[in-house]
Every structure is written in C-alpha cells, then in structure tokens.
C-alpha cells in the first residue's frame, strides 16, 4: 500500500504507538495516508479503534513475519 509518511513503532507497547500516531498525523495534510509499523499485537485493534474515536479513516492492515503495518488516512 502506498503512504505519504511512515512511522516506526516497532518494539513499542501501548499507548506509545497511538500516541505517536496522533502526533505524527498532525504533520500530515488532510487526505494523506500514514503508514505505521508496529510489533505490538494490540495495534490491530487499537488502530481501527483510534480512527473510530478520532474520525480518521482506517485504510487497512498488512502483516508479515511479526511486523504489522497499518494505514491511516487523515480525514480530520
């Protein structure tokens, strides 16, 4: 999946990935997509939940060998 920016949260546990996602998304423009790399399983539930709570769009998720990639589109 194509993204406008990438955030590396590999090795970080809750709440750091969503905290950093929130900060990083502030730097993006509306309509741009952020790719978040993570290793904590929690991100699979947290990323869609964070999007639902903030009104941003959860685009999708990929998983390869323990590394999880989630894609969030800034809509707010």
């Amino acid at each position: 999946m194509k993204a406008d920016a990438t955030l590396d949260c590999v090795g970080l546990y809750c709440p750091m990935p969503i905290h950093q996602t929130a900060n990083k998304l502030k730097e993006l423009k509306t309509g741009q997509v952020l790719e978040v790399l993570a290793s904590d399983e929690g991100i699979k539930a947290d990323a869609p939940a964070w999007c639902k709570a903030t009104g941003n769009e959860f685009v999708g998720m990929e998983e390869k060998g323990g590394e999880i990639k989630v894609y969030i589109k800034k809509t707010k």
Partner: protein, 158 residues
Amino acid sequence: MAEKMTLIVFSGDMDKALAAFNLAIGGASIGMEVSMFFTFWGLNVIKKNEGPLKSKGIMRKMLNFLNRGGAKRLGLSKFHMFGMGKWMFGKLMKEAKSPSPQELMTIAHQAGVKFIACTNSMGTMGIGKDAFVPEVDTYGGVATYLADAKDGRINLFI
C-alpha cells in the same frame, strides 16, 4: 469543544500510576481534554524525587520521612517484596522498552494532560507546593475536580 476525561489518582502504587498515565495519554491521543487529580497516596506520583520533605510536627515529620514519594520511588501493589519485585519489574520494563512512570508523566504533560494536586491531602500531610514537580498545573480541591468531571465523558478513580 473537546470531550473531557478525568482521572482521580488516589493510589501511590507504581502499577496503578502506569495504568493512569497510559489512560491519560490514550485519552489525549484521541483528542480528549484530560485532567488527572492526584490525591492522598496518589500525591506521591507527582512529588519530586528529592530528599526528605520539610514539614512541621513529629507526626508529619515521621509520615513524610516514611512516605517520601516521587515517581521513581513508587512501589508495586503486589510482589513488591521490599523493593526486589519493583527492581525486577523495572528491569523487565526496560527490556521491553516500556516507559517508566516518570517518562510517562513527561509524555502525558507534553500531550496536554493537566495535573491537579489535592490541597486537602497536602494540608493534612503537611507538605507544600515545593514538594511537587513543576508539571503540576493546579492546586485545588473537590470542586476543581467536579467542575471537570461534571462534563466528563470518562471519569475514573484509580
């Protein structure tokens, strides 16, 4: 206007402080206006990690000698084992790159979480504002908390 979240931090246990800061940072990350009201043993979380506190009277002196506080000195609510459990937990957290209570406090503060210290507990225990970290925004009482909690979507007691 942003939705509000309030946390009463009554406990001075390290594990509970971690939970409280995690919730606060999470709340801030979804755009909520978060305030943490530290009271009773919870005041230990926001005390400076410094030497003995100045207070008057033998009982308060004794209390503040035994109850020095500071985010670094918080004990575990379970398996503390005179500090051994806490030491091991600290090692595990470092290994997992999990932030310490002090680090979480800084992150929460930077994320805009407001810290309130309970003046009633401070008075009873005989400690002044100089005992606390500079991140404390307000020194107040129950009305300060309730004014926030009244409009709070999430209000928790820890």
